[in-house]
Amino acid sequence: MRQPTDLHAEEHVTEPGDQPPCQSAELSRTLEAAARGDQAAWRAVIDLYGKRVFALAKSRVRRADLAEEIAQSVFVTVATKLNDATGGYTEQGRFEAWLFRIAINRVRDELRRLKRHATPTDPEVIGQTTQAAAANDAADTDTIDRLRSAMLSLSDPDREVIELRHHGGLSFAQIADMLQEPLGTLLARHHRALRKLKSHIERSATNQPRTTEEIDS
């Protein structure tokens, strides 16, 4: 039987955060051990998903401190419910969907709170984040910068699909199940969101104004 630390090592041997972990037998065993109170197993779970949850939160709230606070809240909730027979983690084999459902709900709560306080998005923060993110790949800086700007133009439901797919590493079927939408509807929404992003990037590259159709959508 592989130990949780092996799972952790494998994550770092490949590329941390690049390939989303699937619900493998190792992950199931790690979750079982964590549910019994095994701290090493719980650490392995955090090593697997901590950055993903953080990145998902940060892409929405745009503040690292707030994103970390959200991530902490998410993992406290998961740890509490991991072995809770009533209302806890009962969806065996679907841990990722369960984890990111908690995360997305927590992010929504935070966004509602931020809207009540009417905190505008700070463009300087976005710029700093963009520079930091693209520091390792200067050639992509412009593309990623435009992409982040384009993400802000998407509606919240469209952004959720994009973020759950790329941060959460969830399949469309998992996202459809989580958001309780038909798979076809979700795919269509995802394609529409990608086309908006592509259009926004191309337009920003040529400094063209938005079309009436895009504004209406």
């Binding site: 019994r36 993992f75 990608l194």
Partner: protein, 183 residues
């Protein structure tokens, strides 16, 4: 821009070809977010959430090593002996307390029962009590009557009786002789 965003191959195939480059750019941007996460993020997440985990449980499916089993037996024996000693001590204290309470509850009743039983089996004691009560009453009555006219009459009667007795004796008869002869 040919990097696949994740392992969901079928999902990737479901995306139109002209959008693959956008999705690849998204994957790179979001991967950069993860790579540029704050240093020590996992440590802080672990520190914040570890206390929410359930208490560690002993896995019965994993056999114990002989040393663990021996230690377990010793701990269990010590705990059993300790518990037994405490139970013995508690039982002894409880018995003492109960005995004391029982004695306190019974002794006064025993005293009362004894006195009443003595009275029942020895009526003379009651009589003695009654006699002493009567004597006290007589004495108090006599004390009250010392200065009354009744005592004067008694004294005159006694004087008359003595005079009569002397006159009879002077005649050679006694009161007993008179009573026998019907005088």
């Amino acid at each position: 821009m040919t990097t696949r965003p994740n392992d969901n191959t079928n999902d990737h195939a479901a995306i139109p070809a002209d959008l693959h480059d956008v999705e690849a750019a998204l994957a790179r941007a979001m991967r950069a977010d993860r790579v540029n996460a704050p240093v020590g993020l996992e440590d802080r997440l672990f520190a914040a959430s570890r206390s929410a985990l359930p208490a560690p449980q002993l896995r019965l499916s994993e056999p114990l090593t002989p040393a663990q089993a021996d230690m377990g037996r010793r701990i269990a024996r010590h705990a059993f002996n300790s518990t037994l000693s405490r139970l013995r001590m508690a039982a002894a204290i409880a018995l003492l307390v109960m005995g004391g309470l029982l004695a306190l509850a019974i002794l006064p009743n025993l005293q009362g029962t004894t006195s009443s039983t003595n009275h029942a089996h020895n009526p003379s004691s009651t009589i003695h009590l009654a006699d002493s009560d009567v004597a006290d009453s007589v004495l108090s009555a006599l004390a009250l009557s010392e200065n009354s006219s009744f005592s004067t009459e008694l004294e005159s009667i006694r004087t008359a009786a003595e005079a009569l007795d002397q006159s009879i004796q002077s005649d050679g008869l006694s009161i007993l002789d008179l009573s026998e002869t019907g005088v």
